[in-house]
Amino acid sequence: MNLILFTFIVLLGFTSYYFGRKKAYTIQSTKKRLTALPQFYGYYLAIWCAIPAFIIFSLWAIFEPTIVKLLVLSDYSNQGYLDDELNLIYEKTKALSRGQFTGEITPFIEASAEKYLSLRSIAQSSKVVIVLSAIIASVAYAYKRISSNSRTREPVEKFLNAVLFTASLAAILTTVGIVFSLIFQTIDFFKVIPLFDFVFGTHWYPAKAFVRDSSEALDPSMYSDTFGAVPIFAGTFFIAFIAMCVAIPIGLMSGIYLAEYASSKVRQYAKPLIEILAGIPTVVYGFFAALTVGPFLKELGTSMGLEVSAESALAAGGVMGIMIIPFISSLSDDVITSVPQSLRDGSYAMGATKSETIKRVIFPAALPGIVGSILLGVSRAIGETMIVVMASGLAANLTLNPLESTSTITAQIVVILIGDQAFGDPKTQAAFALGMSLFLVTLCLNIVALRVVKKYREKYE
């Protein structure tokens, strides 16, 4: 229904464009001068068609559900129901009207469902009438108004500018959305679990919070020693550390080699090939780590008399390191190439060899940029999900042995939220609290890294 209406309005928009332009042409044919190109008259009318439609559609979307709910529930208003019960009745009503209700159908709910359906259809048809009449009125008004010397280009361009500006707000809205979706659940979580226990507790067993019935929902003693995040934070940084141990030497050295030594031919082929590593989806790395690297390390360990878990932190971290190599190598390559040639020439003139120049002159000069690229790599490693979910353990062990399994923030979020989840449950909220800490940590890393890289760029431009 909405789709048909929408298509119809779009068609109306095109017709009003056509009529606007036609009117401009008729004015032109009477030898009067126009103040704007004819199509602006068309755009002008089309905008007058779009604005009321947009306003009414959004008003409807915001208010219709609330008003319908109010009207349906007005039947129950003086029967002493609680708010939660009213909500439940309303949900049942909606489910029944969609024919998806499974349960006992009481005559009350059936009557409400009928009322709901009739209200919906009234709302729907009145929306059609109101939208169409508003469009016709506004287009007719605008059509009357346009004449040879009316200004049409300025309003049209102002409108376009407003549209462009709104689009640029999308990034802010997304950030607000992220914070918004995380913060409420997080606050609820910390109402039940003290912040201190979360940050300094050393036992993480969210499954323990699973076995309970609703009557004891808010008994904090149940959750003590359940949501201590230290093992998870430690595991996250530990795996990231292993990843960086692989990625920094290989990434940095290949970046240096590509920038300073490689012939243009090698560079032309090697650079995109290394960057393929960054384009491979992380789930593929996860599969590789779980199926190939994990068992391989286990076998290798057994042959050397070591006990290696099949889901060792080393396998997950190592594969993650491979994934991060291209981020570090291409960023440090860029940074090194932008070091001015004069620095190199000066060093060569003093008789330094190439590697001495790199180590003593270029590397210190490029250091801020390289640090920035490493920080971005760390942020990537901390936020990486699929490799850890598939290749590392899911039980949160507090360990510094790379051959044992540990768990990370991201893996725990997935473990908790996979499948159905009940909002308002401390376990679900714990996932959001973890998400919040992940967001904050990566935010800090990103901002610092971007600042450093930017400062560096400005220095040599």
């Binding site: 361009e157 462009l164 640029s168 409420f184 030594y261 490689a262 491979i280 599969f287 967001f439 990566t442």
Partner: protein
């Protein structure tokens, strides 16, 4: 003294060579990982494109099928095929006892009834006759035939019994086992049975998510880039937008999944597990990538173009819309394709919004529950059955094929259509 100098020089030259060698080995290591990686995926995955069939003689006995004389098409449709299917499998070994008959039945997929039925529907004159029919082998025998299953394990650790292997070897010896191209891998939806599982449902899920993502992210990102690059005044607010965009580009993808879960599902009540929600979530993720690419290519349009248009009396909006934006389109488009390729490979946010549900139908619209290719990889990789390992690798090959095509396409657009100003 002179000798000392020479020694020092030699030492320095050696250090130079060593350093160079470190660089070379770093590149070599990176490329080695890539090669091992691709080799591993291809060597485990290529066999999934073949499927093993058992050729079994089936007697279309009208009595066993409960069919009367001269049955109509509907009768054939409704007839009972279980008995003849069972009988034809049991006939592979005439001395089989009841347990062994059961094992014989499990040598083919549970789909075998349907396959026999289709055979008869194609040719109703077969009633009362015997014909050799191709039946899908069970995934374990499929793996045995492809040589991926260790036959020397003790019997109680195998999912294939010695008896089944004996009959199977007889069939192989009589060349009644055939390997053909696995069409059902591309046309079937997901299934719990490895031999029947296909990627059609997750493929469509991916396509729908990417389309939704494109329809939302592309217009918004291009408009935002135009505003920021061409119209925005330089002030605190636009700086703030810029910081936001750069930061969003580096936010971990799972956080976007939490956003989808907490806002799209919990507040807007959009349907769970659907490509619609997946697409919206992915679009928020790709938005910064496209904005950054579009801004870079707008910046690359030389100011002389704008100045010429302005000098001819065009307004700023006309200059932008008629000249700058069209000239920047190739760069923007290739950036968009690269962003979409990233979104196509994304798994974590889709798992959080419930696109991991087991879906055994092919979705027909973005509002139907679906998985996506990377999520399918995850689901299959988590299953224990051996038959799924090669499916995962094959699915990865399809996904990588897609990503490579998209990236090549982006390169072509960039090289063919982008104007070089200099």
């Amino acid at each position: 003294m002179n000798k000392n100098k020479e020694q020092l020089l030699n030492k320095r030259y050696k250090a130079e060579q060593r350093f160079r060698l470190y660089g070379q080995s770093a590149i070599f290591m990176a490329l080695l990982f890539l090669t091992i990686f691709i080799f591993k995926i291809f060597s485990t995955g290529y066999s999934a494109f073949q499927k093993t069939w058992l050729i079994v003689p089936v007697t279309f006995d009208a009595e066993l099928m409960m069919l009367e004389q001269n049955p109509s098409k509907e009768d054939i449709q409704d007839a009972d095929y279980y008995d003849i299917a069972l009988k034809s499998m049991a006939d592979l070994d005439l001395n089989a006892n009841e347990d062994q008959e059961n094992e014989l039945k499990r040598m083919v997929s549970y789909f075998f009834e349907k396959e026999i039925k289709n055979e008869l529907l194609n040719d109703p004159s077969l009633i009362g006759k015997t014909k050799e029919v191709y039946l899908t082998a069970s995934d374990d025998l499929d793996q045995v035939f492809k040589g991926n299953y260790p036959r020397d394990l003790p019997e109680d650790q195998r999912r294939v019994s010695d008896y089944q292997l004996k009959i199977f070897d007889q069939l192989v010896a009589n060349s009644k086992v055939e390997s053909k191209f696995n069409i059902s891998f591309f046309t079937n939806a997901d299934s719990r049975e490895a031999e029947l599982a296909g990627i059609a449902s997750s493929f469509m899920g991916s396509i729908f998510s990417i389309l939704v993502c494109l329809m939302i992210a592309f217009p918004v990102a291009v408009l935002a880039a135009i505003y920021l690059e061409e119209f925005a005044p330089k002030n605190r607010f636009t700086d703030f937008i810029e910081v936001n965009i750069n930061n969003l580009a580096a936010v971990p993808s799972i956080v976007f999944g939490l956003l989808g879960l907490g806002v799209l599902l919990a507040i807007f009540q959009l349907p769970r597990s659907t490509p619609l929600v997946g697409g919206i979530t992915l679009s928020l993720m790709t938005l910064p990538t496209i904005i950054i690419a579009a801004r870079a290519s707008l910046k690359a349009v030389p100011p002389s173009i704008r100045e010429a248009a302005l000098a001819m009396g065009a307004s700023r909006m006309q200059t932008t819309m008629h000249h700058t934006v069209p000239l920047s389109m190739p760069g923007t488009l290739s950036g968009t394709i690269i962003g979409l390729a990233q979104a196509l490979g994304e798994t974590a946010p889709l798992i959080l919004i419930g696109m991991v549900a087991f879906v055994n139908t092919i979705p027909g619209s973005p509002m139907d529950p679906a998985a996506s290719l990377p999520v399918q990889i995850y689901i299959w990789a988590e299953s224990a059955e051996r038959g799924f390992v090669e499916k995962v690798s094959a699915c990865i090959m399809v996904l990588l094929g897609f990503l490579i095509t998209m990236n090549l396409f982006a390169q072509i657009i960039r090289h063919k259509f982008e104007k070089k100003w200099s």
